[in-house]
């Protein structure tokens, strides 16, 4: 698999990222909201944060796919 393909779909990746433009937008949103979760739950870990938001019905579908992928990568490390 070429490095220029998004990890979650077949689109080309955005510059300097592992994801295409659409999935990168979702990734940025995940990162942007993490500090708010950390503040709400007093230092919730990145993995716990991803696991929790994936279960919520309010989450968007792209954000959910990204959370699943990031969780998988995080566990693989």
């Amino acid at each position: 698999m070429s490095q220029s393909i998004c990890r979650l779909c077949t689109r080309k990746v955005d510059v300097g990222s592992d994801y295409c433009v659409s999935h990168y937008r979702a990734y940025s949103q995940l990162q942007k909201k993490y500090p708010e979760w950390k503040s709400a739950y007093e230092n919730i870990s990145w993995e716990r944060y991803l696991e929790t938001i994936m279960e919520l019905k309010e989450i968007g579908d792209l954000a959910k796919a990204l959370a699943a992928e990031e969780l998988r990568r995080s566990k693989a490390r």
Partner: protein, 706 residues
């Protein structure tokens, strides 16, 4: 003026008939022949010939009709007959071609025989443009503003029409000029952008090219819907907590909320809940009573009427406008395409009340209103103004024929809103009681209507929570029954409805009050958006269109450009700035965009069929039945251009895949196949044929279910 022959041009046949009835002495003394209505002796002794224009008789068109070329700058006004015959070459059929030709001939003949011409089209920019084109092209005059007179009326009642004919004014070339320039701008942007997109997304072997259109208003309107969907798709909810406690006082149970709800920290929320859970009593620390008055709702302007009709009756803005137009043509309401929230004093309000009293449904309401000592004699006025027309109001004419259900609903809404404007304020008392328990403050609020006002006439408002029968004193103790901690998450941003999209377009100043509803309908007709339980969703093709256009010329999807254009058109209308200035300013914005479209054309085309099948790219069909974690996606091969289905985890470990039909629009249904658990899909062929089947090509259940 007396004993003169005067040509009167109306915008539509229904309006022409109403005008003829008003101009004749007894409402019947006229004869209709060959699309003309002759009134040999009108109410003022003149001989009137009334003709209707059937909307626009002249339209802008490209004389060369080379549809595979853009940009087209060589455009001119042509009779609709010519434009329609050109369109027939491209498969479009306009049914009224012959009738339009006859109308143009008749107007041309009569205008030469008459001593004066009166433009009695709707008094707005579009009406002025229709009148200008129809009369000037039929019989050129030296000076439009001096030789063509203008009848200005806001209702089609006999009184209003006769008054306007007694006070005919000169025509306003600035308004006609602004109207013509609006058509020019719409044509230049709409036709050229649509051609550019269609050409760049078509292939030589296509039997029928995919028609992609985007205009200067369509682009931003669609981008609002697409962007909102993106916001929803990447939404990450953030938690918040609400602490409340149930209190008992005089056998009444009340729910009091923590004063600083919502709480953003779990530890804080848990501490408040823990502390209050252990308490049995709360002390009333403050009882605040404040009374205030709520003034009546402002009279209707078009957008507000459309929004209310959608909220209350789920009528689309386009339907509401078309109903309002019919009510206007029946002389039941004033001109609906207005931005005004004002009802000027010149309107005979008392006369309207008296006439409306004849209708049983309003007789009681009007009796109450007229006998109310606090009623207003001057209606409440909103801040918005329209130089041409007042707010929408009932004329007092009684419906001669039975109205359809939806017509009745809209008419009733307009009448009630009109009556509400004369009613006194609602006097409301708000009670806020603050309790202290477990070192935290909780409060409860209620409101009571002390004096009924306008809500009696316009009862479409939210009610108030009321516990005024329970009294509280500062320092007294109440029983705490329980305390609860509720976790909530920020919801996804709401999708647009037709009404909220209309509001957004109005707020961003794109389109006009008359065209916004049509733009939304066009987006739906072109299948760029679809309705689901009144919510607007962008289709895959609509999303891809915006993404592609944004990549080439983002200004087309941003509201700034079209807003600036509207402001320039306003300058022509109000200050009479010249057409040349407008055209040169518009071209300076238009040329760079067209250059970008041309230079990016090859790249557009080189995408292997993706652009042509924009609607099919990586569509998610449902969960993968094997790995349970991935999603089955419909994918088009970058190499072969063929479609297939595979799991989003294909590159990792899940090898689930299947072939897909090469043609047809595939959409997920949202339920699994009963045999193999793959997602069920619908495949749409053309406008009507739809197959419902399993997405697994090897599934034994793959049979066509109509």
């Amino acid at each position: 003026m007396k004993n003169q022959r005067i040509l009167v041009l109306a915008e539509k046949p229904d309006a022409a008939k109403k005008i003829a009835e008003a101009l004749s002495i007894n409402g019947r003394d006229f004869s209709a022949f060959r699309h003309l209505i002759e009134i040999p002796r009108g109410f003022d002794g003149n001989h009137y010939t009334v003709c209707s224009a059937l909307g626009h008789l002249y339209e802008l068109s490209d004389p060369h009709q080379m549809r595979n070329l853009f940009p087209v700058l060589d455009i001119d006004w042509f009779p609709r007959t010519v434009v329609a015959s050109n369109q027939r070459r491209w498969g479009h059929n306009s049914g009224m071609n012959a009738l339009v030709g006859q109308k143009i001939k008749e107007i041309s003949r009569i205008s030469r025989e008459c001593s004066s011409q009166v433009n009695a089209c709707d008094y707005d920019m579009e009406g002025e443009t229709i009148g200008f084109n129809s009369l000037i092209f039929a019989h050129p005059v030296r000076s439009y503003d001096q030789e063509i007179l203008r009848a200005k009326f806001s209702t089609l009642t006999v009184e209003d029409i006769r008054t306007s004919f007694r006070k005919l004014t000169s025509s306003d070339p600035k308004v006609a000029g602004a109207g013509r320039m609006r058509h020019l701008a719409d044509f230049l942007w709409g036709v050229n952008l649509s051609r550019a997109l269609t050409l760049s997304s078509s292939f030589p072997e296509d039997r029928k090219p995919l028609l992609l259109t985007v205009g200067r208003v369509q682009g931003p309107a669609l981008s609002f819907v697409v962007d909102r969907e993106w916001e929803r798709r990447i939404h990450v909810p953030v938690p918040r907590w609400q602490v409340s406690c149930e209190l008992e006082k005089s056998r009444h149970v009340l729910t009091a909320f923590y004063v600083d709800n919502p709480i953003r920290k779990y530890a804080v929320a848990r501490e408040i809940h823990r502390t209050t859970s252990g308490t049995k009593e709360a002390i009333v620390t403050r009882v605040e009573r404040t009374s205030f008055s709520i003034p009546p709702r402002y009279p209707f302007h078009l957008t507000e009427l459309q929004k209310e009709a959608f909220k209350l009756f789920k009528l689309s803005p386009k339907t509401t406008l078309s109903i309002a137009q019919k009510l206007y043509q029946k002389a039941l309401i004033s001109y609906p395409r207005t931005d005004s929230q004002k009802l000027p004093e010149g309107i005979a309000f008392e006369q309207i009340f008296t006439r409306l009293s004849a209708l049983d449904v309003y007789a009681d309401l009007l009796r109450q209103l007229r006998s109310n000592p606090k009623r207003r004699f001057r209606p409440v006025q909103g801040p918005r103004e329209d130089p041409a027309h007042p707010a929408i109001y009932p004329t007092g004419e009684l419906p001669g024929t039975t109205l359809y259900t939806t017509e009745k609903k809209v008419y009733d809404l307009i009448v009630r809103r009109f009556l509400n404007a004369f009613a006194p304020n609602e006097i409301v008392e708000k009670l806020r009681v603050t309790f202290h328990t477990g070192s935290f403050d909780f409060s409860v609020e209620s409101a009571t209507i002390l004096e009924k006002g306008w809500a009696l006439y316009y009862p479409y408002t939210k009610g108030f929570e009321n516990f005024s029968n329970v009294s509280f004193k500062e320092g007294e103790k109440v029983k705490v029954l329980s305390s609860s901690l509720r976790e909530e998450y920020d919801p996804k941003p709401s999708r647009f409805t037709e009404a909220s999209l209309l509001s957004r377009m109005e707020r961003e100043s794109i389109g006009t009050k008359a065209t916004r509803a049509d733009i939304i309908a066009t987006l739906s007709d072109r299948e760029y958006i679809q309705k689901e339980n009144l919510e607007l969703l962008p289709t895959a093709i609509g999303t891809s269109l915006i993404e592609n256009v944004r990549g080439i010329a983002p200004e087309i999807t941003a509201p700034e450009m079209t807003r600036a254009l509207e402001q320039k058109l306003d300058r022509i209308r109000t200050e009479g700035s010249t057409d040349v200035d407008f055209v040169s300013e518009m071209l300076s914005a238009f040329r760079p965009v067209m250059k970008k479209m041309q230079s990016r054309n090859l790249e557009f085309e080189s995408k292997p069929r993706v652009v042509r099948r924009l609607d099919q790219e990586n569509l998610e069909l449902g969960p993968c039945p094997f790995c349970k974690r991935g999603t089955l996606q419909l994918i088009r091969s970058m190499k072969t251009g063929k479609r297939f289905i595979r799991c989003s985890n294909f590159e990792k470990n899940c090898k689930t895949s299947s072939a897909a039909l090469p043609r047809g629009q595939i959409l997920p249904i949202g339920e699994p196949c009963p045999r193999c658990q793959w997602p069920m899909i619908s495949i749409k062929f053309g406008a009507k044929r739809v197959r419902r089947t399993c997405s697994n090509f090897n599934c034994s259940s793959r049979e066509i279910i109509p």
